[in-house]
Symmetry: C2
Subunit: 433 residues, 2 copies
Amino acid sequence: MIIGISARDIRFPTSRDSHGSDAMNPDPDYSCAYASIEMSGGDPTGHGLTFTIGRGNDLCVAAIKGLGVHLVGRKLDEFEEDLGLASRLLLNDSQYRWLGPEKGVVHLAAAALINAVWDALAKRAGKPLWRYVSDLSPAKFLSAIDFRHIRDYLPEEAALERLESQYAGRADRIERLMKDGYPAYTTSAGWIGYSDVEIVRKLKVAHAEGWRHFKIKVGGNLQQDVERCALFRNTLGNDVRLSVDANQVWDVADAVTASRAMAPYDIYWIEEPTSPDDILGHKAIAEQVAPLKLATGEHAHNRVMFKQFLQAEAIGFCQIDACRLAGVNEVLAVMMMADKAGIPVCPHAGGVGLCEYVQHLSMIDYVCISGTMDDRVIEHAAHLHEHFLNPIEIRNGRYIAPTKPGYSIDMWPQSLADHEFPGGPVWAEDVHQ
Amino acid sequence: MIIGISARDIRFPTSRDSHGSDAMNPDPDYSCAYASIEMSGGDPTGHGLTFTIGRGNDLCVAAIKGLGVHLVGRKLDEFEEDLGLASRLLLNDSQYRWLGPEKGVVHLAAAALINAVWDALAKRAGKPLWRYVSDLSPAKFLSAIDFRHIRDYLPEEAALERLESQYAGRADRIERLMKDGYPAYTTSAGWIGYSDVEIVRKLKVAHAEGWRHFKIKVGGNLQQDVERCALFRNTLGNDVRLSVDANQVWDVADAVTASRAMAPYDIYWIEEPTSPDDILGHKAIAEQVAPLKLATGEHAHNRVMFKQFLQAEAIGFCQIDACRLAGVNEVLAVMMMADKAGIPVCPHAGGVGLCEYVQHLSMIDYVCISGTMDDRVIEHAAHLHEHFLNPIEIRNGRYIAPTKPGYSIDMWPQSLADHEFPGGPVWAEDVHQ
């Protein structure tokens, strides 16, 4: 039985070195609100986190504590029997719902808790999360999804039919995943705060490690953006993939201009060209810059937003986030809609724990939903993995399938103690906070 | 100079009597996070609030305190010289922005603070807010608006041209407002938790008071919804206006079915038929139920969402909210876009202080932007006005133009003390919290 919920404010001082910097977010301190679900009776503790970039992480911690009371007193068996229960309990508190609805701090907090429940379920089953979900029957998988407000695009019956038709090939795909892993790209060489010298050095190192798909941050000054693309091609040539990420800074017209200016450098996708809420804006940009494709989603807050991006044919890549969406359940809904649209799911990661999270999600997409890894990549950033008990493993630019039970999000007790804000030793002497 | 920001958690136990109940929100405790900007040097204290329905109000209080540091140390003159300054300081904190962006708890908190700055400016000028804004030059008015991410729909030049063309008729419209007030409708008779007997009694009382436009809550059970519409027409006849409000509970197909079933009762608008994020869903419903019109906006979180509702011709009425949007500045942007689209602005109110707020906004729309009150109404609900120093005044179903300086949002010290959560006397003995 769940006997208590705790949440801690964990922050890493990444802004001191411009790690993670982009055009909209010049000085992020990668942070997380780290939730723990304490169980009685020998069931494993479930962990989940939601990712933020610093100030306001305390709001997510407070929201986790406030929402968490809905889980206390429930048995893990109840969540296993009804895979939608945690989502319903947390998202349908009408008073908290008002603060979104289904967006912002409250949604981020719900994600941490929902993910913690899945973590506990997978741990108890002795399986990594991707495998736990892959072993569900199609009907059971479907029961995790809330179809409210999306069934005009994806009715339950069509979703079930798709899952059933993919069920037969499961075993082969699991075997292939265990053998080959999942393709990835790296963002670590291209933060906007890095100098050209630093970028060239990091690109070369990453290429030597086996990376063949890179992302660089743009959106500062158009001439510099184009120069960055040229620098990239001059450094690594034309046999590797390049995506660029503007982090929302452009208006529609500017996005079109910038995309066209960078197009000669063979851009795989243009990410977050404008406001993440602007479905029709993305559609307008996409139409004007085709065949160049757009990617967005790390700030798309729920399944209704993704539904529209897909309906409008506004995006060429679907960038789910493991905790911007309300945890595993809502991610499953979005991945099924992307599959229907024929749009590759390429998760947003980096941050704290996002790589650990999303590897499971892409693997679920491959095994249970889309049945393919073609055109799909998981984002990778090289920092902060040392704080996790079961960090990601990368080999030749691919994620190795996790084998340890759970959702890979447990952090080391010492890491938590060191980085707790504001009292932990990393922060205690920081005069800027 | 601003020397400090305070915020208080104020809650009213409205759920005890089903006041404010609807299909999505069965038991709201109308609440507000009440912000005060303390000034040195004799400048007036600015007040602003953001409205919530109970649990989680504490998150808005915490966010106001966290964001508020950006205002401390600034002079009121700086905000007067640059009407966009408060918005920029509060919305462009990149770390807090991550938690939205521009939505949810952080946006609600920014609204309270931005509105408090406008309140202080209007108070110092000795004018009610609507009049303070009406007396700005078109260029000065325009400087309050952030055109980022909306200029593809409304470029600055077009907005300025519209304001200038309306400038000449200002004095006449101010005179008419002072004489006749602004048309309104009432929601107080139709909460979903009320019995039929209660509704009939309240409708008759409201009609006798002069009300001619009413709204009732639907979205429970379709047969009951239709019976409610019939009850309404049987009670008050066909010479009054009826709007219905489903508070988001329907899917697209259900919304079409329900709207058609109620259409014979001459429905002025169908409000929140589905997810407030579903622009394309509203468009699909609107096309199928025309000439019946849709209204939404109380949960539309920013100017980018409204832009799309207008671009898609998905709504027939634009329901701005004074603190869901980031305060006066973002409301001005949305009202200008609605004007361009030819869609009437009919603000969401009720709650705590929303009527006090939005009367000013509709009056600004009339004087400075649209130049008309045709088809436009301000929502009215009859509760909680006694807690405000300068409550709204209604005569014959119309809002009387406020004359006291400021944004009408100052609450009585005793009301604040009594309803502070959780320590105030109203809550101290409540065992349910």
